[in-house]
């Protein structure tokens, strides 16, 4: 497709720039992936399931939460439940994609398909910063995405193995790796009391739903209640 607007370049040099810009983010990614691997072994996943989640879902928050409702034997209903949970958690990516759409319009189909498979919060941030600074090469997204993917997959394995070796995980708090990590993620998201009002609604609704219903439906209902509160609020950000 030859768009009327000039097509953004997609070059190897851009990919290398993206990889370089992703380097400062790697320590955080390594810690997150290791925590996921350890949590997965605590929840009884085998090493192939754990690696498949990291390699193909490649979305840390969704992977972590999915572990909470993971099971040895599946039904259609429980699989649909995890899928809906995954969709809820990853819905934010729709917004990320919409933000880079004008930039990616005209990028060849295969390059787009690969770049979007690798799109995460971290590579999106790298790309947006690069573009805000005057850059235009779409391969910056791809290069940072590849770097983050390799790191994410590679760091999952030692976490899994370490988690599998611990005899008494509760004594070290390892059964709570997921909530502890999530709690830490809240600090960088903080933008003041106003934008946190939906979070409070999400928490209250989740606690109420937990009392009323079995299972982990409270995550979906609570998160959607928070999103609805956000939609109804007039103030910006």
């Amino acid at each position: 497709m030859t768009a009327s607007s000039p097509r953004a370049p997609f070059t190897l040099a851009g990919a290398v720039t993206g990889a370089r810009l992703a380097l400062p983010l790697l320590p955080g990614i390594i810690v997150f992936a290791t925590a996921f691997g350890a949590a997965a072994s605590q929840k009884g996943l085998d090493v192939w399931q754990t690696m498949a989640l990291s390699a193909f879902v490649f979305a840390g928050a969704a992977q972590m939460v999915a572990l909470e409702i993971w099971r040895d034997s599946w039904t259609v209903a429980s699989a649909v439940g995890v899928t809906m949970l995954t969709m809820t958690i990853n819905a934010r990516m729709i917004l990320m994609g919409a933000a880079i759409q004008p930039w990616m319009a005209g990028t060849p189909k295969t390059a787009s398909a690969v770049t979007l498979f690798l799109l995460t919060d971290a590579s999106w941030l790298v790309g947006m910063r690069h573009r805000a600074g005057g850059g235009n090469d779409v391969a910056v997204l791809t290069g940072s995405g590849v770097t983050l993917w390799v790191t994410w997959v590679a760091a999952t394995l030692p976490g899994y193995l370490a988690g599998a070796f611990v005899e008494n995980p509760e004594a070290f708090g390892l059964d709570l790796v997921m909530p502890v990590f999530f709690a830490a993620m809240l600090a960088p998201l903080w933008r003041g009391v106003g934008p946190a009002v939906p979070w409070a609604v999400a928490g209250i609704v989740a606690l109420a739903v937990q009392q009323l219903f079995e299972g982990y439906i409270f995550i979906i209902v609570g998160a959607l209640a928070g999103a609805a509160t956000g939609a109804l609020r007039r103030d910006r950000s």
Binding site: F56, A79, I94, G97, P179, V180, M185, A187, A206, G222
Partner: protein, 108 residues
Amino acid sequence: MTVLEEAFASPAGSYLTIFMMVVVTYFCRASGVVFMSRLRIRPWIERALRALPGSIVVATILPIAAQSGPAAFAGIAAAMATMAATRLEIAAIAVGLACVAAMRALGF
């Protein structure tokens, strides 16, 4: 049992589930770029999606902490405080887990 239920109950069920997660995740990744050339995100949808990440975190950790008891609350609070102070994930996790371990060792 239908064929579908049998497939999910079999050892392949985990991989079928992972496959479904992969499909919806890719849909989320691609749809913003693929559909936004035709649609536009209305302001209320944007506000809802912006409120979503923090809402997911709180809706996940509060009930789990409520179920696990005071050690979990202490660990979560310690992790948040450490993250706010240092911005280092590894420090936040280490302090959070150490706090849980200490509380449990003390019998909470």
